[in-house]
Amino acid sequence: MKGSMENIIEVTNLTKKFKKFTAVDRVSFNIKKGEIFGFLGPNGAGKSTVIRMLTTLSRPTSGQAIIAGGDVLKDQDEVRKHIGLVAEKIILYDRLTAMENLEFFGQLHGLTKSEVYQKSLKWVKKLKMEEWLNSQVGTYSTGMKQRINIVRALLTEPDILFLDEPTLGLDPQTTHLIRQFIRELNGHGVTVLLTTHDMIEAGALCDRVAIIDHGKIAAFDSVENLKKQVKNKNNPTLEDVFLTITGTEIRDIAEGRTKIAGGFGPGMTKNNSRVR
């Protein structure tokens, strides 16, 4: 389902500073209802920090973010009712069974046990986890954990699903299953914000992407439009776009300071493909 014109996420000049280090620097973008939005960037670019702010887990230093009509600072509980989060770290307790995990988090969202069961069952079946619901999560493989983790995030039937590198470290089969699942969810009207390093994944799933680098939005457009900006290559991939915009240098972040080996990459300067 392609996005309608209504913005479900509106971010304006969002900034996060940790002491002197600016992790996210006046970031602005919007996400339309029903789209799959890709949030791309090198390690330490500020992707996760943005997600933490949008999901009320971290307070912005300045700027504004409106999620499903609610302000992340003022209407936190309202925002929380509309979002699901699959974070970098898997939000499940190893010593509880999958069902116990789902029940626990579901109950915190005000669901009863039977509601949790009903709501999770269809997702569990789609993600092929129904046989494992009564085993402790600690006995699972990473891929199995991630699938239950996604079910957990969907318990409240969120309007927006935040996926922070959902296929990182998973085998090709699970990755394929999860990507298919994301598409299907989106088909049901769920807006998806996805961060990834995987350019193939982003290219295959996302309607529009934002590339974030050094805490700033370096590019923000549909995948097709971004590809057009790569002039020195025929049939460029999203990876070409990414490297063109963020450069080829490896980023080392230590103690909040960014060190770049060499200057900026070939092609463009950092900001010249910014589209608002």
Partner: protein
Amino acid sequence: MFKIFRDLWQITKKDLIEFTRDKLRLATFFIMPMFMMIMVGFIFPSQNSLKNISIGIVQSQSGEIGQKLADSVASLEPTAGSKAFKVTQYSSIEAIKDGIKKQEISGGLFIPSDFSDKIVSGGQTEVTIVEDQSNPQISQMVDAILSKTVEGFSQALGAEKLSQILITVNSLPQNQEHKVSIESIMTPIRANIVGLIAGNPNYFEFVAPGIIAMIVMTAVLTGLAASIAREKEQGTLDGMLISPINRLAIILGKAFAQSIRGLIQGIIVMILAIIFFGVTIHGNVLLIALILLLGVFSFVGLGILVSAVATEQETATQLLFMFQFPMLFLSGVFFPILLMPPFMQTISKIIPLTYAITALRKVMVLNAGFSAVQNEILILLVFGIVTLSISVPVFKRVITR
């Protein structure tokens, strides 16, 4: 308001289920208080600890009365069935000193060869107690017991002689109205010792309330900080933070789970103390529970504060160790606060554990009622309220950093 309690209980329940699934943690949970109890119970001196201490006696030339004194030392039984001393005969005071040097014996009694003769002939005589200065605790005990035995023996001899004199004295005509008794001469004043409870509490009864309070409180303090830090590290805290529940429910839910664990440990310790170490609980059990609960309450704030500051489990544990270690010594668990230097006494007054232990001791040992511990209860309450009102806002701020 009702929702906060429901959410809180969900978190408590979750924490406890998680905990019971961890077999190793569960095992240490039960073993730790037993270990603690057994260590403290057997290591610290009580009447039972005076058993079979090797001493040397020189008495071979000292005659019949000397022999009697030596026998009464050898047959001393502080508790029925177990002798205080294991006596070895030595030939001279030098030999006893040698024996102490070789650590064969922990002290000695030298009875001179003219001992009996001098007593029979109406003179005064003396014995020599040799002490092992390398071991002050043992030698203090040996000294005390030997001196007391010699003194008792000497008094008995004196009384025997006196009774013969008194027969003559009391038969005099001017003494017919008021006969003179042996006691009125030998011990004209007797000191009466009256306790508040029946029996004679041992050191363990002094320590037990302290250990119970300490175990409960360290369980809460370290348990809470470690458990919040662990959830932070693993990322599961985010799962709770992202749900539309009051942050207070998260903190209190976790604190409640730790308190339940702490109280269970406290009960284990109490039962062990009663069964194995003869501790009698004289006071009201409900009052004891109330004090423990308030003790826990007074500590929760500190636990929350530490877990807010520490980003990793290890940091939290280390930070807390820094608090706990001095607290153990300054709160009067093992040593009476009154015996500490004034500076230390002042510090001990700002530790909530001190008040919990004092109150617990009053109730458990002295059967004190509510009015006797109301000050401690009030202080614990204030402590809890103050630390919580500082730590909860700090925690709320820090977790959404």
